[in-house]
Amino acid sequence: MAEAATAKRERKEKLEDILVVDCDVHVHESPEALIPYCEMPWRKALETIKDVKEFYLDIPGFSPGTTVYEAKFPSGQEATRMVHSASQMREELDEIHVDIGVLFPDHFLKIPVISQVDYASALARAYNAWLLAEWCSPENGLLGCILACPQDPVGAAHEIEKYSDEKGMVGVFLPCAGLERLWGHRQYDPIYEAAQEADLPVLMHSVTVIHPVFPFNTQGFETEFGRHICSHTFSMMANIVHMMTTGVPVRYPDLRVAVTEAGISWVPFLMHKMDKEYIERRREVPFLEDKPSTYLKKMYFATQPVEEPENLSDLVTMMELYDGEDNTIFASDWPHHDFDHPSKVHQIPFTSEVRRKVFGENALRLFNIDAGGNRLRVR
């Protein structure tokens, strides 16, 4: 990838001729949709809120959000796009040249802030059953991630085992927004064990919430401008640091870990900060057998929201700093307000080889699937 300049001389493949695996697209789960999949007594709670007016990704008793904090002005941006069905998703992904989309929730990005453990766990079970039944299909190019409820790690591990042989499920979603204990905590070991055993990667994803836990204690920011920057990127850095602290990459050497919706420019920063600390504090993290960057470089990083420097070749340089040729994966975040059209990533002056890796080949390796979306190692 060092040969960015030569990329200009190669014939640039068109987007429609490249396999595009989109590692982060969002389905819209409403309380009403989940009712048939939810156990009692929690189904009763969903019935109670099914007609509550939804602010964007903000329903009391389901996904408490930040709607209440700011003045609302009219805007022409369609910032509240939602996808309600698999057919709508397929149609819209076709429009942006995506072959395979990996599905994440809308509301349940925020499931860690639900305070009742049993409710959160029931919601996760209902979502997983609904997702598999109504959305996932390798033939349709739509693949799911099992939602791991952090409030109930043992229950989450059971969910992973339950779906481990499903063709439609290709990963485990680790929600990060408002997460009480960071993903490195030993209480989550059953989840990592189950995911590694099932040959399913874990993918972290955050979103803005205002919550007492770092880095969501963002009440000091007046607007979403500040909260949004910190909620995604800082959350990923905090979780990775903690996973490194407790030796997750060493204790689960076959576990594949991915990060979504944080861009990529922070990766070199974190890599160097951890390596520097490690020199002095190795004995605090004695699980590690090598410097943290060795393990970080084995993780996968999704592009969206891709940084847009004036000189797009800066992105090639940024990726070089973390050996990102084989572990950077494309994501659009469709249909959310800050989605990236693949054409933006297509503009980055990659070599043809690296472009194909970033758009699809690296993701095939992450999910261990073929270009048709079929899992290669279902037991």
Binding site: S75, G76, Q77, E78, D338, F339, H341, K344
Partner: protein, 120 residues
């Protein structure tokens, strides 16, 4: 080929109207703001979003030193917002509010014999 193209009757573009018209391969957003007609490309230079296909132009917020940095709602009905990512443009000038160095090209839109024409 003429550089002037008829895009409709004046009655098709009443004050407050905004429509996207196709002229050859180009898509042009045509706006009637207070009786004056403007044309802008229907492509946002950011990520090629359909800039003029969203809501009608609205106002926007600014904060200026001469008003002690208080928020003001200004340019009512003159700011078009890209439906994809929210970049704002001032229709009468084509100016991008977020980037002082970006100004969209403007197409001249005028009325002749009751017909609305755009000059490429």
């Amino acid at each position: 080929m003429s550089r002037e193209h008829v895009i409709g009757d004046l009655s098709d573009f009443p004050p407050g109207a905004h429509r996207v018209v196709k002229v050859g391969r180009r898509e042009i957003g045509v706006f009637n703001i207070g009786g004056k007609l403007y044309g802008l490309p229907n492509v946002c230079p950011h990520q090629t979003g359909p800039l003029c296909e969203g809501k009608p132009p609205l106002g926007t917020l600014v904060a200026r030193s001469e008003n002690d940095w208080k928020f003001e709602w200004v340019d009512e009905g003159e700011v078009v917002v890209c439906p994809w990512h929210g970049l704002e443009y001032h229709v009468p000038t084509g100016r991008c509010l977020a980037y002082p160095n970006i100004t969209l090209r403007s197409y001249e839109v005028f009325v002749e014999d009751g017909e609305v024409k755009v000059r490429l």
